[in-house]
């Protein structure tokens, strides 16, 4: 069971400010976990920390994956272990084409497995799956992409790199209804017994397509409630109010 991602008592601060206050969470292989919570509760902070962003300082805790405390690894080493983050706000990289970038990335995470013609085929196939126009492979990575196009490009990267532990940070925000369906169906075809997914979202919409095995609610840098998929429906109906009360008690 070393292929599960185990987050233990994780405390994280940024620029001296404490954001995560002891997060415990497990994402099993083959499982979809949803992480929900109000704005500013620390969901992206958790995602960035799992990927190793240098600005996020781990004050306490550990994250185990494949027998390692991945907090000790550089971001690229985490990616090579199979961890993937679909960014809430993907960066625009001038002058680096989507295809050049993805070929380099695939060679890094899975060295020597894909010849250039195979890569071209793979890229084309995944672009078709996500209904992304061929011309995008020649465009510079995310430069001038619309919000929705950026999210689709993130999932394209997921589809090409085929990681084993994927964190999707608000992949649904900025997508119109049709795009949401395409992206969600794309993610669905990638799911399987070998991939664990942590889906960060505000809305039930996405979870209608990607059914979570578990739902966790984060408030003020802590998981305040965990449950099954019905928890997401409850939230949709009632909001976070009851948890805010709960949070007061906890934090004081």
């Amino acid at each position: 069971m070393t292929d599960e991602l185990v987050i233990k008592d994780l405390h994280v601060s940024i620029e001296g400010q404490k954001i995560l206050n002891g997060v415990d969470l497990v994402v099993k292989k083959g499982e979809v976990c949803a992480l929900m919570g109000p704005n500013g509760s620390g969901k992206s902070t958790l995602a960035y920390t799992l990927m190793g962003h240098p600005k996020y300082i781990v004050d306490k805790g550990e994250v185990l994956y494949k027998g390692k405390n991945i907090l000790e690894l550089a971001p690229d080493e985490r990616a090579k272990l199979g961890v993937f983050l679909s960014f809430q706000y993907p960066q625009e990289i001038p002058g680096v084409s989507v295809s050049n970038f993805l070929r380099t990335a695939l060679n890094s995470v899975k060295p020597g497995q894909t010849s250039v013609p195979d890569f071209v085929k793979l890229l084309r196939e995944k672009m078709k799956l996500l209904k992304i126009d061929d011309s995008f492979s020649r465009r510079y990575l995310n430069e001038g992409f619309s919000g929705g196009e950026k999210k689709r490009a993130e999932i394209l990267q997921l589809a090409v790199l085929q990681p084993e532990m994927a964190i999707l940070d608000e992949t649904d925000s900025g997508l119109d209804i049709d795009s949401l369906k395409i992206v969600a169906e794309g993610v669905n075809t990638l799911l399987g017994p070998n991939m664990g997914v942590l889906v960060i979202t505000h809305y039930q919409r996405l979870l209608n397509y990607i059914t979570p095995d578990k739902v966790h609610i984060m408030v003020k840098g802590r998981i305040v409630k965990s449950g099954g998929k019905e928890l997401a429906h409850e939230l949709e109906a009632r909001g976070y109010d009851e948890y805010k009360e709960f949070e007061k008690e906890e934090v004081v």
């Binding site: 190793g52 971001p75 090579k80 990289i93």
Partner: protein
């Protein structure tokens, strides 16, 4: 390719002698001189190189019989001065040797150089290639390119050296004259290794409706100076100028462009992008001069520097000197560091820090490289950047 020989020529000797006094009387440039600011000349001792005996080897494309029959000439400069006295009229028509000690050095000591002459209405389709291999301590040359009205040519100059484990000096001037309605694409790439002091000067003069397109790349060398001047002498003339440089180790790059809009309705567009690694430094100097005669001029200049590491040093000095009132001119310069968020994004996909940096560096140049009209050159410059 054939070698451009070092022929004897009395006409050339006379010209060299005229320039010698001028050269001797000029002091070494100092950092406080406007045209040399931020370039430390302290380490260069010219007496170590005297008498500047040039041992470089220049090779050039062999002209087809057809072109030769139509009067195209590609020969060495010395015999051209002997055989075609008219060439003498062009000598230093585009610049004053007294303005630059190293232009004066080329004028006083050039041992060889190429001469390209394209007669009226002739269009040369295949690029003319010129390779300079500096094999000894000195390479001092003087090149001359003349395009007669309505002619067209592409020239690809490549300068390299064999590292001799000692100081090496390259001083060269290439004068390009684009007469009425002619068009030239001129590519200059230098790639030095070891302890090289390079002073390359490209001086272009565009007559009525003529156009010059410069594309240049500077790589390597201890002190690598490239100066490109464009004189807009005829109405409607235009010029585009793309430059790329990459500094590493303790290299210093001095990239200078000067444009003189001496006629109405002329257009100039300059883009110089550079990357500095390790402890390298650079200065970009860009002068746009528009006297009263230069009404209705459009002149633009942009310079972007990407600094990798805190030990690099970049200076950018654009300057506009405008005496005409109906012109459009602007300059922009940016000096930036690599974006840490970009690095993280790429590393999150599995690229090592070094690979991520490499992609960002290549990406930085890509928009300029995309503007180079010759695929061969685009690939060549990409390769240099990759090294």
């Amino acid at each position: 390719m054939k070698e451009i020989s070092k022929a004897k020529s009395e006409a050339a000797d006379a010209r060299r002698e005229d320039s010698l006094e001028r050269f001797n009387s000029m002091p070494m440039p100092k950092e406080k001189d406007e045209n040399w600011r931020y370039t430390d000349m302290g380490k260069l001792k010219l007496e170590n190189f005297a008498p500047f005996e040039s041992t470089a080897v220049i090779t050039a494309t062999e002209l087809s019989e057809d072109l030769a029959r139509h009067g195209v000439i590609l020969s060495d400069i010395n015999s051209a001065m002997e055989k075609y006295p008219a060439t003498l009229n062009y000598f230093f028509k585009g610049t004053d040797i007294g303005k630059d000690k190293f232009v004066a050095l080329s004028a006083a000591y050039f041992a060889h150089g190429y001469f390209l002459y394209v007669p009226k209405n002739i269009e040369i389709k295949e690029p003319i290639r010129i390779n300079l291999a500096a094999e000894g301590k000195n390479s001092v040359l003087h090149n001359l390119v003349i395009l007669e009205p309505n002619s067209r040519a592409d020239v690809i100059e490549e300068y390299t050296n064999k590292d001799i484990g000692d100081e090496q000096l390259n001083a060269s001037i290439t004068e390009v004259f684009a007469n009425t309605n002619s068009r030239i694409n001129f590519y200059h790439v230098n790639n030095w290794t070891g302890n090289v002091y390079n002073f390359t000067n490209l001086i272009g003069t565009a007559e009525r409706n003529a156009s010059i397109s410069w594309v240049s790349g500077c790589f390597g060398g201890n002190l690598n100076r490239l100066r490109i001047d464009t004189n807009f002498n005829g109405q409607g003339s235009s010029c585009s100028n793309l430059g790329i440089f990459l500094g590493k180790g303790e290299e210093h790059i001095d990239f200078t462009t000067n444009v003189y809009h001496n006629a109405e309705n002329t257009t100039n567009d300059i883009l110089v992008d550079g990357i500095l690694k390790d402890e390298s430094s650079s200065v970009y100097r860009g002068l746009i001069k528009i006297p009263k005669e230069g009404q209705k001029t459009n002149s633009y200049l942009a310079n972007h520097i990407l600094k990798l590491g805190d030990k690099t040093l970049a200076n950018s000095i654009p300057s506009l000197k405008i005496d005409a009132n109906d012109v459009k001119a602007s300059h922009g310069a940016t000096v930036g560091q690599i974006n840490e968020e970009h690095l993280f994004y790429l590393m999150a996909r599995g690229l090592s820090r070094a690979e991520a940096e490499r992609l960002i560096v290549e990406g930085f140049f890509e928009p300029v490289i995309q503007k180079i009209p010759l695929e061969e050159l685009r690939e060549k410059i990409r390769e240099m950047v990759r090294k």
